[in-house]
């Protein structure tokens, strides 16, 4: 079951999400895609505190700040 219209920053630690759209500026989106945050990819949240977040994507851990994570639109992936 997929709940749409979430942003990546709302995914709690340990949960997975499927990426729908990147709404950040073109160069930021390009870098995110190159690192594996591309449409339809499934990522897992490792740390979601109040500050920065850590996600697992292609077996690597990538740190993102809150504002970047907010521009990544996702759905829950169970």
């Amino acid at each position: 079951m997929e709940i749409s219209h979430l942003s990546l920053s709302e995914i709690p630690a340990g949960k997975k999400a499927r990426i729908h759209r990147l709404l950040s500026k073109p160069d930021v989106s390009h870098r995110l895609r190159e690192l594996g945050f591309l449409e339809n990819a499934v990522v897992r949240c490792v740390v979601n505190g109040e500050g920065n977040l850590i996600f697992e994507v292609c077996n690597t851990r990538i740190g993102l700040n809150h504002s970047v994570a907010q521009t990544i639109k996702v759905s829950r992936f169970e």
Binding site: P26, H30, G51, N52, C58, R61, G63
Partner: protein, 725 residues
């Protein structure tokens, strides 16, 4: 499992060798080939470079841009050799930062000062195959001859993945060698593969674009080839760039022929009208193919969910615990530097004193003996004494880097850095600046935004570097009493930490100020890879530490030696007959210069003797210590105090007329504050000049830092005077 992998690797090697032999009729490899090593950051590129070259390395800069260029020599089994170039880590050939641009330019043969490599060794992290193959696919597109070092197969194995090098090799049409660089596994095989002639992958571009995009891309490629005489590979790279970006049209009008730009415009309109995301289509298509390659060549046995690294990160990147841990770690580091280094420092100090005494007894009295003992030896000795502290500082920083904690420091500090408008990545140059501002300024090359990079470069020299450490250490040892604070911390240790914190605070404040005024811009997005934690490799940390300590010694043996001799001369001449040593120093050239600037530095609580030190250390901070060493040795050589340590001599020094001591606790603190904030480093100025391509920013930097140092010290001195009365 690993053995099977290595065995199959041997088979590939044999097949490959027989194939290439057949192709080249046993042709011997050319003697000096130029090979570049490329790969994603954290893929183990440097470890592999070290394993391949051993200690046959030299570090230089790319002319014009100060990005470190590391070259080494690989010696093959038959005694022939090749030059190996370590390129900066990059995720793709679409350059985002100056660092990545170097890698791309060298690979494309566009770098003017570096030859185009004959072939590249691409280091691929086996545990992170998808993202690493992204770069590989770009290199294959470019038809660059390539060998893949499939590195960290042990890590992949541990996280439940088995990558088959044979399958990968078949898919890519490229020779693949499995390695574990930090354990030396597969290095021999890789060398052999490198020794054989290397060709481009016979399987050219295998990923495919959606039909519509492909049509546009093909057309544009043909136009580019005609208009700019580009090769197939180059035109493909350019076509992707042009189709992806919209800013290219505005900013590179002069770079492309009008018919190219015309076509690009039409392409953009057409693709946009079909609702195709030009940004994502190329990346997605590549990843589509990568997915296929991974499915064929990799078996996932079990999906490791939460790794040990993740568990550690839950604590160490926590917004409260993580920060507390970071501060505690820093405090411990500086405390340790100060206390551990003490014993070896005493040995060196005693050794130098003994050497001086030995020379004094052996040589005839005279100017030459004075020059050697009181000029050269006292000056150089005063600085060399601090080698243990420098060693420990670099050792700690090297360990932070090697364990993977450095990236976490950037991650944690991003919150703080974003408050001053900078990226967490800007914290790494600052952390490196604790060792030296020069690698710090060079580390800014990973920062993508030009303005942010400039701000970071401007403030990095405010962070206390290792050259300040001798000054702090001398002042603290001589004037700060050994007392316990709160039962655990020592007052000298705390003073040292406060100096470091003052520098850091000044750097952050000025970063904020510059971001608000001179170099306005929004806070950049934080996207950063956090490599898994690992035990530091003892060998590489020691090698790095040794390299840096050696550079420090080299400076002491050349630059500081020269300055010490000049200073001895200035402090000894003109000779006055029948003068007391104190009067002699006062009348000397150095004394006169000190007196000349005394009115300017008097408001800071500094007298003419400190003035000599300040002038002497304009080019390099630690010269202050050697200057004090030289002038106190000259002065005291004749008064029977020669065998006292420098700190004791400074402690006892007083004005012969007024009886006022030259140094008090307040002077010592003021002097330290001055050195925290002042530029006093010619090498930094030179690096700034090269990095920013001009004199504007280095001059601005000298001006603002000098003004800051003067004002800061003045305020501290005045407050101190008030408190003391």
């Amino acid at each position: 499992m690993l053995r099977d992998r290595l065995h199959s690797q041997k088979q590939i090697r044999h097949q490959h060798r027989s194939r290439t032999r057949a192709m080249f009729h046993e042709q011997a490899a050319p003697s000096t080939r130029y090979i570049a090593i490329i790969g994603n950051p954290n893929a183990g590129k440097t470890a592999l470079f070290n394993a391949l070259t051993g200690l046959r390395q030299k570090v230089a800069n790319y002319p014009g841009v100060t990005v470190e260029k590391k070259e080494g020599k690989v010696i093959f089994g038959d005694g022939s050799s090749a030059t190996l170039l370590d390129l900066p880590g990059t995720y793709s050939l679409t350059a985002h930062s100056p660092d990545e641009k170097i890698a791309t330019d060298v690979l494309f043969g566009k770098a003017t000062h570096t030859p185009r490599p004959d072939f590249v060794v691409c280091v691929v992290d086996a545990s992170n195959l998808e993202r690493n193959l992204y770069l590989v696919s770009q290199i294959i597109d470019h038809r660059t001859p390539l060998i893949i070092a499939l590195n960290m197969i042990d890590v992949a194995e541990k996280s439940g993945m088995a990558v088959n090098p044979q399958r990968l090799s078949d898919e890519l049409g490229v020779h693949v060698v499995a390695t574990v660089a930090n354990k030396g596994i597969g290095v021999h095989e890789l060398k052999e593969a490198m020794h054989a002639p290397v060709t481009a992958s016979p399987k050219a571009r295998q990923w495919s674009l959606p039909k519509l995009v492909k049509e546009e891309c093909d057309e544009l490629q043909t136009i580019l080839q005609d208009a700019h005489h580009l090769s197939e590979a180059d035109s493909f790279h350019e076509a992707i760039q042009l189709l992806t970006s919209s800013s290219v049209l505005n900013s590179h009008n002069d770079r492309y022929a009008p018919e190219v730009l015309e076509h690009v415009k039409k392409d953009h309109e057409r693709l946009d009208s079909f609702g195709i995301d030009r940004q994502s289509v190329f990346v997605e298509s590549r990843y589509e193919w990568i997915k296929h390659v991974c499915e064929v060549s990799r078996k996932i046995k079990q999906q490791a969910e939460e790794t040990t690294s993740d568990k550690i990160d839950k604590v160490l990147t926590h917004k409260v615990f993580g920060f507390v841990f970071f501060i505690a770690l820093m405090a411990m580091m500086f405390q340790a530097i100060f206390s551990w280094a003490n014993t070896p420092m005493n040995w060196i100090g005693d050794g130098i004193t003994a050497l001086g005494a030995q020379i004094t007894t052996v040589m005839q009295p005279g100017d030459l003996r004075d020059l050697i003992v009181n000029g050269a030896l006292a000056g150089v000795g005063a600085v060399v004494t601090f080698l243990p502290q420098i060693f420990f500082l670099f050792l700690f920083l090297g360990m932070l880097e090697d364990t993977g904690y450095m990236a976490r420091a950037a991650f944690i500090m991003d919150r703080m850095m974003s408050k001053v408008g900078l990226h967490g990545k800007s914290f790494i140059p600052m952390l490196s600046s604790f060792a030296c501002a020069i690698p710090g300024i060079m580390a800014t090359r990973t920062i993508e935004s030009r303005k942010d990079r400039l701000v970071t470069m401007l403030v990095s020299p405010l962070v206390s570097c290792s050259a300040r450490l001798p000054v702090y250490a001398l002042m603290i040892a001589a004037f700060i009493p050994q007392q316990k604070v709160l039962g655990v911390f020592s007052l000298p240790g705390l003073t040292l930490v406060s100096m470091y914190l003052l520098g850091l605070a000044a750097a952050l404040t000025f970063a904020w100020l510059f971001k608000k005024t001179l170099l306005k811009g929004e806070t950049p997005a934080f996207i950063m890879e956090l490599p898994p934690y690992k035990l530091p490799s003892f060998k590489s940390v020691i090698m790095h530490t040794w390299e840096r300590s050696y550079l420090f010694l080299q400076r002491a043996g050349t630059f500081i030696l020269g300055v010490s001799i000049v200073l001895w001369f200035l402090a000894t001449y003109p000779k006055i007959t029948n003068a007391t040593p104190a009067e002699q120093l006062q009348q000397s050239f150095a004394g006169q210069a000190g007196h000349l600037i005394e009115p300017v530095i008097k408001p800071l609580g500094f007298n003419w003797k400190i003035g000599i030190g300040l002038i002497g250390s304009i080019l390099q901070r630690e010269v202050f210590v050697s200057t004090m060493g030289t002038i106190y040795n000259i002065k005291d050589a004749k008064t029977g105090m020669a065998n006292l340590s420098l700190r004791e001599k400074m402690h006892n020094d007083a004005d012969p007329h007024t009886g006022m001591p030259t140094f008090t606790i307040l002077t010592a603190i003021c002097l330290m504050v001055y050195y925290v904030l002042a530029m006093q480093c010619m090498s930094t100025v030179a690096v700034m000049h090269r990095e920013t391509n001009g004199w504007k920013w280095p001059l601005f930097q000298i001006a603002y830092m000098t003004l800051l140092a003067y004002t800061g010290t003045f305020i501290v001195y005045r407050i101190g005077l008030l408190l003391m009365t």
